[in-house]
């Protein structure tokens, strides 16, 4: 059968998003699930971010797929739906599927007649089983998928049936390696800032922390699994690109595995530059390991610094400290690893707090500071706490660049403060380049064209991002959430203040090593998978 896997654009074409300038990642979700069925089916991946507007319809009408699948984060949800709706319109007999973070965490939002199956959780085995069933059932147009774990399917009367949860594959080594030939057509076009051409792989799934704004640990039900060192290096070696982005949300988490990986890289003499995401506390506590990773090609580490304030970090359940941030950054720059630091400004911030953050960033010499706004993403603990206080339900505004909760400053002033972030932290970037140049003198000259390319694009991005009125226009007419309807102000929202530890100390499951600083928000700790188990008990399989 012909299976078309579509990476949607995150917004309407032409609207600004991270993928335009900062980070355009390979659609690894699609190559992963595509590779699981490739042996028996003809699979194509269409990345709409790198196609003309009519590519989807032209492919549908000429290639006539039997199955169309798409993926969705929160911001992409409308686009993913538009893809499947279009697929049904152009190829009425097609089977439509959606998977990914948002459908897993908020499946009800995809309950439309043009979505046949909602896939929750890890997709490889689920898609395999769906395809086995559909191969047998298609002739009779039987869209019953009872018993296929990890799915929500529509029965003939249009009722959405909920199957039991899909258990995670015990070892990532058992999953097929994503076949990057599926996206051969787009090779050379993916990037992270100036690192390009870039390949993307993953080497672990899940995270064992439980930050309350993050969806990862919830998606993977608080479990972490790793790919073996050999498989990782195999994959890196197989990439033709000079840069590889390791997509793990928390690469730096298991010391033993990091050591094993370094051993393997050294044994095989891997010559690749690579980038990944990891926590600052690990880097701060393991300087010798960071040095080894850097020698083995690590050139950039993206970390959630989040804040310059321990109370704020604690309120987010980050379980780190600003001193660790500081120390990690020193270690990284000494080893020639560019630090990309994500900072989270809060809607209840004053001008002084903005100024304090920018000053802090400048003191760190961070190479790529990225600024976001605290956003309760659907499916996270924060969302459960604040869903009634949201000013908007428009998922496009959940891109971490818009304040979906009431701000303390008038919104115009809030955005004006937020928008000056990049100008205000130029010093940090300049100094970071100096450090980097010292540690890796040949890197910049060797990659000068990509650096120029990146700055050329970034400058254009800045024209939008630097204009705070553009943010106000983005939300015009769209502030229609429950908080907006109730006319809430910032004072009605009990933002995490950082003094919850007083109450949390009494809380019996406050972590013992919290030392009075690490606190837990008093919010329910149910996750999506608990609900599925319940639902499936009711609906039966």
């Amino acid at each position: 059968m012909r299976v078309l896997l579509v990476m949607p654009t995150p917004f309407e074409n032409g609207r600004l998003g991270l993928e335009n300038v900062v980070w355009l990642s390979e659609p690894v979700a699609l190559t992963s699930v595509g590779s699981a069925i490739e042996d028996r089916h003809e699979v194509r991946v269409l990345d709409l971010r790198l196609e003309d507007e009519d590519a989807l319809v032209r492919t549908l009408s000429t290639w006539k797929p039997d199955v169309v699948g798409t993926t969705s984060m929160t911001t992409d949800a409308y686009q993913a739906k538009a893809v499947l709706r279009t697929a049904k319109n152009v190829c009425p007999g097609v089977l439509t599927l959606v998977g990914g973070h948002h459908p897993t965490l908020c499946p009800d939002e995809f309950d439309f007649d043009y979505v046949d199956v909602i896939v929750q959780g890890e997709g490889e085995h689920t898609l395999r089983e769906i395809m086995e069933r559909w191969s047998r059932q298609r002739e009779a147009d039987d869209r019953t998928f009872d018993g296929v774990k990890g799915t929500r399917w529509r029965d003939a009367s249009g009722v959405r049936r909920v199957n039991a949860k899909r258990e995670q594959t015990a070892s990532l080594d058992d999953l097929p390696i994503p076949n990057r030939r599926l996206i051969e057509k787009y090779q050379g076009r993916y990037f992270f800032t100036a690192f390009r051409p870039m390949a993307s792989i993953f080497t672990s799934r899940g995270c064992s922390f439980d930050c309350n704004f993050c969806a990862i640990w919830e998606f993977y039900e608080r479990r972490t699994r790793f790919l073996s060192a050999k498989k990782i290096v195999d994959q890196m070696e197989a990439c033709a690109e000079p840069f590889v982005f390791v997509l793990d949300d928390n690469f730096l988490t298991n010391k033993r595995r990091v050591v094993e990986l370094c051993d393997e890289m050294e044994r095989r003499g891997l010559k690749k530059y690579w980038m990944t995401q990891g926590r600052t506390d690990f880097a701060a506590d393991n300087p010798e390991l960071v040095a080894r990773l850097a020698k083995n090609g690590l050139v950039m580490l993206l970390s959630g610094f989040e804040s310059n304030d321990d109370d704020n970090l604690a309120a987010l359940r980050k379980k780190s400290s600003w001193q660790k941030n500081l120390r990690a950054n020193e270690i990284l720059r000494e080893n020639g690893v560019i630090s990309t630091g994500i900072f989270m400004v809060r809607p209840d911030w004053t001008k002084e707090q903005f100024a304090g953050l920018y000053e802090y960033v400048n003191s760190l010499d961070i190479g790529i500071p990225l600024f976001t706004i605290l956003t309760p993403l659907p499916g996270t603990q924060l969302y459960r706490a604040y869903k009634d206080k949201l000013l908007t339900n428009d998922h496009r505004l959940f891109d971490l660049l818009h304040a979906v909760l009431p701000t303390r400053l008038p919104r115009e002033e809030f955005y004006a403060e937020f928008c000056r972030a990049y100008d205000a932290t130029e010093k940090s970037v300049r100094n970071a380049y100096k450090w980097f140049f010292k540690a890796r003198p040949t890197f910049i000259p060797k990659n000068i064209t990509s650096i120029v390319w990146f700055y050329a694009r970034t400058w254009r991005y800045q024209r939008i991002h630097g204009d705070h009125r553009s943010f106000l226009r983005d939300e015009e007419g769209l502030l229609n959430g429950p908080g907006a309807k109730a006319g809430l102000t910032w004072e009605d929202v009990a933002y995490p203040k950082g003094d919850e530890h007083v109450a949390a100390r009494a809380d019996e499951d406050a972590p013992a090593r919290a030392g009075g600083k690490l606190v837990k928000l008093r919010i329910p700790r149910r996750i999506w998978a608990d609900d599925v188990a319940e639902a499936s008990a009711g609906a039966g399989e």
């Binding site: 319109n89 428009d394 204009d467 229609n480």
Partner: protein, 319 residues
Amino acid sequence: MMGDLASVEKREAPAPPASDTAAPAGASAPGVTAAARRFLADLRVEIESHPGVNHLFLGRCATSPFARQDYRVFGENHYPLVCVFTSYLERLLIRAPTSDAKLWLAKVLVDEYGEGSEGEDHATLYGHFLRACGSSVPDRADTVKVPAPAFEFVSEHRRIVSEEPFLVGLGAVGPGHEWAIPKMFDAVIPGLRRAGFTPEEIDYFTLHVEQDVDHGAWLEEALLRFGGTDEARAQIRRGAILSLEARARFWSGVQRAVVRWRQPSAVRVDGASPRTIAREILMTAWDGSPRLRALEAGYDSLLARRRPTIRELIEQSRR
């Protein structure tokens, strides 16, 4: 796209012409009719799966919570099409090769002028919608210039109905509109409802879905008669496709306008072909130079000045 042969209420189909110079020769021969039927079935599939009809922007209307403000931009871009649709039919009426054909087009026109919609022509209906969006464009038709995407669409259709063979014109305003509109509006209507418009405010859209579905049957009947020869069929198809290609460009333009009112200096979309670094730098240098930007703005406003106002567009099409 006013009416688009659409405003005719469900009633008996006007009899299509029995014969036509190029078209219906031998239409009565059973073999040809079967070919014509097959042609029509294929054409309908081709139209209904065309990128112009299934433009992702329309899908986005169905699935994204666009606000009234967005629909205002949508509507202001769409309105000129609605205002001049009848002129295509009028043009074809003059050119129709037989009196049967004339009769058929005239009947459609009568409905377009408002007989099928309680005396309100479709431009007036659209005006209600625009006002509900907060737009005063219908009241300022004398001064508001036709937006570029609409002007391009209208110009292309004018060209089709006046310079191309009669059947190409018929393909464009017949199946190219009639079969396309229900599917397109099917996507827009849920979005309009989500944005909070009342049923009366979006009458224009719902009317066209209901009516156009009814009209399918009699249009098909007429086309069967016209599409008797390979040449005639090719002409009808060509007209429909030309119209839909223009439609696809139109929706891309509307989408761009909807994005740009919120983000005036929105990013330049990458698209299918990668840009060279030189181009990337040139673009940035261009955007970064106040002089070059002023030049670009001057050029844009020159183009805009050369476009007619909505009133002028309507008057031109009466000529």
